[in-house]
Symmetry: C2
Subunit: 234 residues, 2 copies
DNA sequence: CTCACAGGTGTACGCCGTACACCACGAGAA
DNA sequence: TTCTCGTGGTGTACGGCGTACACCTGTGAG
């Protein structure tokens, strides 16, 4: 009799999809070849028939996420709102896959899919008439924000839960790091949730890209400054 | 007889210093407890008498580098040049220890040394009269640049060495990613060294922080925009 | 003289990525 | 029908990692 296969045969796509599911739910560190094999009901070495090694697996995972950042038709034809929309769109993809920035950071060369994303962004900026040189600087300034994330180093230290401990910590900070405390307080409307966790990542991301795009626009309209800036830094 | 010790006894400082030496010369991945033990002529487990675990070792290594970023007296009293100097100074520390950004990124809470650095930067900005709220946004916008590095994702793909291959690659790019190629060309004065490697990281870093600090200054003098920006992003 | 303790040792465990030999099975050629 | 061959899953094993835990040893205080 025609024996139906006991399980779906593996494909590269199935391997990558399952890996992304694991990363989404349990984090990037949970994606080991052994764990991924288990999740697919297969021995770890079987995966190597579909991906060259773990590095290529991560390449492929990243490509899927970067593909999610693709924005065919920005809702505005003007370069600035279009660029803004692209960046915020990339950020939503990143928000859905919080592990992805770590994977992206470890890639060493851009894949074709990544180059497509870069190309789209550059084309948007060039469509506004910004010079290639200025666009180059802007791309560097955007840095990881092109990929929808900002490396917020030391962003979120969770505050102590015990109110007494929190009080003590606040008092100590007020004495040793008064400005940090003041600024942390300013980020939150509720002064009781001052330390850590009080700020809106989406708003900060948007603020940053607005500063950068506004700066780009200013330099575009005052090209003398554009040329002066980089040379003053040697 | 008073036997002189066969070797200097281990101390936490010696352990951390040696670890930094290894990272400086062979990269962060070369710093394993086993390799570090070898380098100190000691069995790996001996290190655990001086550091709690590898994570704490990395904490301590990072603290040493961040301490190198300390700038007691900026050469200008004005907030903008002072902030600029602090950022560029942090960058030189980072340049001497190219592994450090990876170590910094994996820290989950700021150490006191790191908070001192943050405090110094915030104090500098506040000294210019910038509001706590604006300073908060600026700190987020600076992101990792506060620590002297910008995550240049996919920054440097080395171009192929074979001229024929390079020609072919350029031709292919010109067709599929024309804007990328144009912008890459603009980053280099010599059109032959166009693809990759042609740009000056120090200049890009300086450009970026100038855009950010100039943006901060503009918002400081037009506070209506400061308040408008973050709310427009919700 | 004893005793505690700081600091270095040795062994072992459970993870990781992956090299390599092996085998089951279905399709195409003889 | 039989032989062969390639595709894809298996089993075993190696060398690396961080580190838990029991152990030993030399030194200084009581």
């Amino acid at each position: 009799m025609a024996t139906p296969p006991l399980r779906e045969p593996l494909t590269q796509q199935r391997v990558v999809e399952r890996a992304i599911e694991i990363a989404d739910s349990d984090g990037l560190d949970a994606v080991s070849m052994r764990a991924l094999g288990d999740a697919l009901g297969v021995v770890p070495m079987a995966l190597y028939k579909h991906v060259a090694n773990k590095d290529q697996l991560l390449d492929l995972m990243v490509d899927v996420i970067v593909l999610e950042m693709r924005l065919e038709h920005p809702s505005s034809a003007a370069w600035k709102p279009a660029a803004r929309e692209r960046l915020l769109y990339a950020r939503t993809a990143m928000e859905n896959h919080p592990w992805a920035w770590r994977a992206i950071e470890t890639r060493e060369a851009p894949s074709p899919v990544a180059l497509d994303h870069i190309e789209a962004m550059i084309a948007t900026l060039r469509s506004g008439g910004l010079s290639p040189r200025l666009v180059h600087h802007v791309m560097h300034t955007l840095g990881s924000r092109l990929w929808g994330f900002a490396q917020e180093v030391f962003a979120s230290a969770p505050p102590p839960t015990d109110p007494a401990q929190l009080e003590a910590a606040m008092a100590f900070m007020a004495q040793r790091w008064p400005h940090v405390l003041e600024v942390a307080a300013a980020s939150s409307h509720d002064p009781n949730t001052v330390v850590g966790g009080g700020c809106d990542d989406a708003a900060e991301f948007a603020f940053a890209i607005d500063v950068i795009l506004d700066g780009a626009e200013a330099l575009h309209h005052a090209p003398s400054r554009e040329w002066a800036l980089p040379d003053s830094n040697r």
